[in-house]
């Protein structure tokens, strides 16, 4: 059904259509509309889930862990301080191999208080064992949320998935999007290690060092297997519903001499910058990274690279730029832009390309 709504509403509708059994909810700007919409669905009877209004984000992930342990589908949503407050439980849920799905409205961390878009919240959770996808339109927020359940629950993966959408820029923008009837695109959950009263076992018991590492190695196996599962899921989604997604999205890259790389809404707006640069005779292209974990490196051979990070790792640099450099050997012009919702337009992105100096870092808007 073609409809019109915000990024938050699209996530909530995808969750409704995925029919989870348990939803844990705690409000935080700019995600709150998701848990409000879910409460409306449950109250109106259009969603049969148990809605647990927890007292903190630490507990929202804990409640999802408890529910998912029994083998049912679960969902929660958070942002910023809420996400880092539940950090411990992100490790616990991934380590317990529970296919929990969560939406994160990317937002800056204090102090000072700032509710604008920034990726530092989710990027700082990159080593928890969660898959992370970054979306750029309201439609993609809906589609990625539906697909997240299938990817997380796949027995080759069994790792939780975080859908990241830029706070306000995407959570609060109103756009056209189409909902679908998932049907058997989303098979029922079949968690192989779900709690079984008839076959009791000890979950997460004391595990000595000569065993612990084998479980971490298995997590990495699940993470690596997820690449094929993501591709297969996205291909099946395209077949059934007609909308195509890839591990990363390329725009006018074929003959490009310089490519701009970013995640989230900047990854969409930079297409406009590419068009402007092309009109000026500069062979520019763009790559929008969708999956940050697993990290999939595009072929950047022979291209100049401009990476825009809406995040920063102190003492290191822009995280996306650093990881691309480490994995591909490219020497990116690393731009730090859009922190805390800082305004960045396609004109600014055009300017980044014009002033590029490979191997250097540029903080947009900062005059030293």
């Amino acid at each position: 059904m073609l409809t019109f709504g915000t990024g938050n509403k699209a996530v909530a509708m995808a969750v409704r259509d995925a029919k989870p059994v348990v939803v844990a909810a705690y409000p935080i700007t700019p995600q709150t509309e998701i848990v409000e919409e879910l409460a409306n669905f449950v109250t109106a009877g259009s969603m049969a889930a148990r809605y647990i209004p927890v007292e903190s984000e630490h507990s929202s992930m804990a409640a999802c862990i408890g529910a998912a342990a029994t083998g049912v589908r679960t969902f929660t949503a958070t942002s910023s301080h809420g996400l880092v407050y539940m950090c411990e439980m992100l490790h616990m849920s991934a380590g317990a191999r529970l296919p929990i799905v969560m939406a994160n409205a990317n937002r800056a961390l204090g102090p000072g208080w700032n509710i604008g878009a920034e990726h530092s919240d989710s990027i700082s959770m990159r080593d928890t064992g969660w898959l992370q996808v970054y979306v750029s339109t309201v439609q993609e927020a809906y589609d990625a949320t539906l697909m997240a359940f299938r990817i997380a629950e796949h027995t080759d993966v069994l790792l939780p998935v975080m859908i990241n959408l830029d706070g306000f820029l995407l959570t609060h923008i109103t756009q056209t999007f189409e909902t679908v009837e998932p049907g058997d695109f989303l098979p029922p959950t079949a968690t192989p290690h779900a709690i079984d009263i008839k076959n009791p076992g000890g979950y997460g018991t004391l595990t000595p060092g000569n065993t612990h590492f084998t479980f971490r190695r298995d997590m990495e196996r699940g993470m690596r297997a997820s690449i094929a599962v993501i591709e297969e899921t996205e291909a099946d989604f395209a077949r059934r519903f007609g909308r195509e997604y890839h591990l990363y999205e390329e725009y006018r890259c074929e003959d490009a001499d310089v490519v701009i790389i970013a995640m989230g809404t900047l990854g969409k707006e930079m297409e406009v910058a590419v068009d402007i640069l092309r009109d000026e005779g500069i062979a520019a292209g763009a790559i929008r990274m969708r999956w940050f974990r697993p990290f999939i490196v595009p072929d950047l051979d022979g291209k100049e690279v401009v990476v825009i990070d809406r995040d920063y790792s102190f003492g290191y640099g822009g995280v996306l730029a650093g990881e691309l450099q480490a994995k591909s050997g490219c020497k990116p012009f690393s731009v730090i832009a859009g922190l805390g919702g800082q305004e960045v337009t396609y004109d600014d992105i055009v300017e980044f390309v014009r002033i590029r100096k490979p191997g250097t870092e540029h903080w947009f808007g900062v005059v030293d």
Partner: protein, 175 residues
């Protein structure tokens, strides 16, 4: 692409108005986005919303710097905010005004949205409802169709006086 910047005060319904205008454009078969620019949410504070309407998918998320149309829901804002900032040379201005306020150098359309709301007793928590008559004025300017305007209002508001308010604004606005 047609770009609209809407200035209002917190509590006046500016954010909802932006969504409704974009929704009506969507019903007309166009691509449209509505984006509120949030600071701390508080009543009475100046609020800005952006609406983009185009025949192609819209890939821009940043703020509108050069609007084709500036809407001012509360003319007292003009004393504290430069509402004309960056407006295109041929850009137009729609002002909710009871005294027919005009701005120099741009085509101005003053319309008494507050008066229309009060005449129909369309008041919530002491504030007149401005967004539904605004939809009527936008339809009169030809940015959205009369039919879509009516549909979004009746889908969103149960009170039929909202449709009447839009009709009155449609009739009162002189193009």
């Amino acid at each position: 692409m047609y770009e609209i910047r809407l200035h209002s005060r917190g509590g006046q319904g500016g954010v909802t108005a932006a969504k409704l205008i974009a929704y009506a454009a969507f019903l007309d078969g166009k691509y449209a986005t509505a984006t509120p620019l949030y600071g701390a949410e508080r009543r009475g504070a100046p609020v800005v919303s952006f609406i983009r309407i185009d025949d192609e998918p819209i890939r821009i998320y940043s703020q509108i710097r050069n609007p084709d149309l500036v809407i001012v829901l509360d003319e007292s804002i003009m004393q504290v905010v430069d509402v004309l900032h960056g407006i295109k040379p041929d850009g137009t201005v729609l002002i909710n005004s009871q005294i027919g306020t005009e701005v120099e150098g741009h085509s101005t359309y003053p319309v008494d949205l507050t008066g229309i709301a009060l005449s129909l007793d369309l008041v919530i928590s002491g504030s007149p409802i401005l967004n539904t008559p605004l939809i009527g004025a936008i339809a009169k300017m030809g940015l959205i169709s009369r039919e879509s305007a009516k549909t979004v209002i009746s889908e969103t508001f149960r009170d039929e006086r909202n449709v009447e308010a839009a009709l009155r604004a449609y009739e009162e606005l002189e193009i």
